[in-house]
């Protein structure tokens, strides 16, 4: 199936539930264009584009770049860091994330890589903490240290 047709089906799959959601928007009396007007208009246009893509199939020639699983693994690791941030805390979790992220992205792990990753993990965390917490008075998650 052409990629653009797949995208068209995906667009329609997104538009339908969102349109149903607009039916439950709160309403106000004596308002000519309610709060649902604009989202429905956009969803209508978007659905129209989706139908066009499904019918047309492919907008132009040429192969598409495939989605690489490594990209999703990388962002997945980042999301795990984000999810655990509140619970574990910035000072404890960030050096672990920097160390693990650096080693995984490096591919091969040797002693030099481990030492570099450790130094960067500690320094990187320390500097960003100092700048944001002490310089800009941002309260970073304390987590287990609280």
């Amino acid at each position: 199936m052409p990629q653009d047709r797949k995208f068209g089906i995906l667009i329609l799959a997104i538009c339908v539930p969102l349109f149903i959601e607009t039916l439950y928007f709160p309403t106000r009396m004596y308002v000519p264009l309610g709060v649902a007007f604009w989202p429905r208009l956009l969803l209508g246009f978007l659905a129209g584009c989706g139908v066009f893509l499904v019918i047309r199939g492919s907008l132009d020639a040429g192969p598409f770049d495939r989605l690489n699983p490594k990209a999703f693994i990388a962002v997945g690791i980042a999301m795990v860091y984000v999810v655990l941030l509140d619970a574990i805390g910035y000072l404890l979790l960030t050096p672990v994330f920097l160390f693990v992220g650096s080693c995984i992205l490096a591919g091969k792990i040797d002693r030099k890589q481990i030492v570099t990753a450790t130094i960067v993990a500690v320094l990187g965390t320390g500097i960003t903490y100092l700048v944001f917490h002490d310089g800009l008075y941002v309260q970073l998650p304390e987590g287990l240290l609280y």
Binding site: F72, G101, V120
Partner: protein
């Protein structure tokens, strides 16, 4: 509001005091350093500094705040060019060609041209500010709901028509951007939409998480997917930073056009630097003899974007000083700064304290000069960032971006949003759907909706958009842009089909 040379000299004298000049340099440096860090905006920099100005004379305080604004807007271009991470929303268009230039080993040229463009943009808008403030303010007073909605629709159609390989792809991403902006509490009536059952979405997705996610996190994903090695990135020679005079002369039309666009967009309240940069970029592309090079690393794109986004500074100050209406969040804070010092923006400011007004004007000029000197001097040391091995750089950048985003509202949810939009941006780009229309849709959606709904509420219909001359003109231009784009793509497809048949 007459032009009095004595008052002008008085304003110049205030700015040329040694202490004021020191404040200007430090303010610009501080603004640049804040602007470089993704998630930290010029707005934050100016807001943080207001308490420090309480005990300063009004002209020094305003000079400091204005130049921090200049530095913050300009600083965002550095990381946008070097590592595809817009330091501020206004630098989002700069990365479209700036980052490809870095990949080609011309990062120095991109930065140098961006800095000079920032200087020209600020100076051009400063000249408009000085001479045209009263006239421009009067023109903007004619903008009502229909005009605001029409100019936003025009901007969206222009960008959709120019970016992306097909009109449909641009339209799809623009519509997604418009739709993303509807999440959360509606600005018009305060009712909740698409909160998906969580209070975390009451404020919507947030501009910076969306921006950083779409452009920076998606890029990190692409880099991670390529397979990272521990060897340093191959950017051993950035090349010449300072643009040659010949280069500057060759781009004079681009500077002037983009400066004018940025100034006029800056006058319109709440539109800001990012749409100005994107519109200017699309205009430069359509005026170019080599539009196919845009998005692949052409300096004209960088110049157009940076000139326009800095030109909005002067435009925003025009309406802020003459009418007291903030052109963007930063000028809202600047107005607050004026009031703290007992100065009321508007015609009274021009009548009772004209030296302060001209002091602000000259601060803009001297601030932009200081910005250019500092950024050109620091370009090469800062460019070393890209020589750091990518397996070290990417996690560090993510932590800096995440911390910057977290610092805005102290919410981990914002960082999570950034990651989600990173995934979305990655998917869009792999399938050749352009990101620029998404951002413009996200920025302008609330404006279009708000103005249309208020127009209909007031008039009972929206026909004013077609009957009022200014809005009708913008809508006609929008239709022309779309029509021309359809014609251009059809012609290209026919030519390709003819070549295929000829084979």
């Amino acid at each position: 509001m007459s032009f009095d040379i004595g008052v002008v000299m008085q304003g110049l004298n205030l700015v040329l005091q040694p202490w004021t000049l020191v404040m200007i340099v430090l303010g610009v440096l501080g603004g640049i350093m804040i602007g470089v860090v993704p998630g930290l905006t010029a707005t934050m920099a100016v807001a943080l500094l207001i308490p420090f100005t309480f005990n300063m004379p009004a002209e020094v305080a305003m000079a400091l705040l204005v130049v921090v604004y200049v530095g913050g807007i300009s600083g965002g271009c550095m990381t946008a060019i070097l590592i595809r991470m817009p330091g501020t929303p206004a630098s989002v268009a700069t990365l479209l060609d700036g980052f490809p230039m870095t990949q080609q080993g011309k990062g120095g040229s991109a930065i140098g041209n961006a800095v000079v463009a920032s200087f020209f943009g600020t100076v051009i808008s400063g000249i408009f500010l000085v001479i045209m403030a009263p006239f421009l303010a009067e023109f903007a007073l004619k903008f009502f709901y229909a005009e605001y909605a029409a100019v936003c629709i025009f901007a969206l159609c222009a960008v959709v028509s120019i970016t992306g390989s097909t009109l449909t792809r641009g339209a799809v991403t623009a519509l997604f951007g418009l739709l993303a902006a509807t999440f959360g509490i509606s600005e018009v009536d305060g009712l909740v939409r698409f909160d998906l059952g969580t209070e975390k979405l009451l404020g919507g997705f947030g501009l910076m998480p969306v921006l950083i996610g779409l452009f920076a996190v998606s890029q990190m994903m692409q880099e991670a997917a390529k397979g990272i090695s521990t060897t340093k990135a191959d950017i051993s020679v950035l090349g010449r930073v300072l643009p040659s005079l010949e280069n500057i002369r060759a781009n004079i039309v681009n500077y002037l056009r983009s400066g004018v666009i940025g100034t006029f967009i800056g006058i319109l309240p709440a539109v800001g630097g990012a749409p100005a940069a994107l519109i200017s970029y699309s205009q430069a592309k359509s005026a170019s003899k080599t539009p196919e090079k845009f998005g692949k690393g052409i300096v004209d794109g960088v110049i157009a974007a940076e000139t326009a986004n800095n030109a909005t500074i002067g435009g925003a100050l025009i309406i802020a000083l003459t009418l007291g209406i903030p052109g963007d969040p930063v000028t809202a804070i600047l107005i607050g700064g004026l009031m703290i010092h007992g100065l009321q923006p508007g015609p009274q400011l021009f009548m009772n304290n004209p030296e302060v007004v001209y002091g602000i004007y000259f601060s803009v000029f001297f601030g932009s000069l200081a910005m250019m000197m500092i950024m050109l001097f620091a370009a090469k040391p800062l460019s070393r960032v890209v020589e750091v091995p990518k397996n070290i750089l990417l996690p560090l950048l993510f932590v800096v971006a995440a911390t910057g985003i977290y610092s805005m509202n102290s919410r981990v949810f914002d960082v999570f949003t950034m990651c989600c939009f990173g995934v979305l941006g990655y998917i869009f780009e792999r399938y050749r759907y352009p990101l620029a229309p998404f951002i413009l849709g996200y920025l302008l959606g609330p404006l279009v909706e708000g103005n249309i709904r208020q127009l209909v509420e007031m008039q009972g219909h929206a026909w004013d958009m077609l009957t009022r001359p200014i809005s009708a003109t913008f809508l006609v231009f929008a239709a022309l842009f779309l029509g021309f784009s359809i014609y251009r793509h059809r012609k290209r497809d026919d030519e390709r089909a003819a070549l295929g048949e000829g084979d």
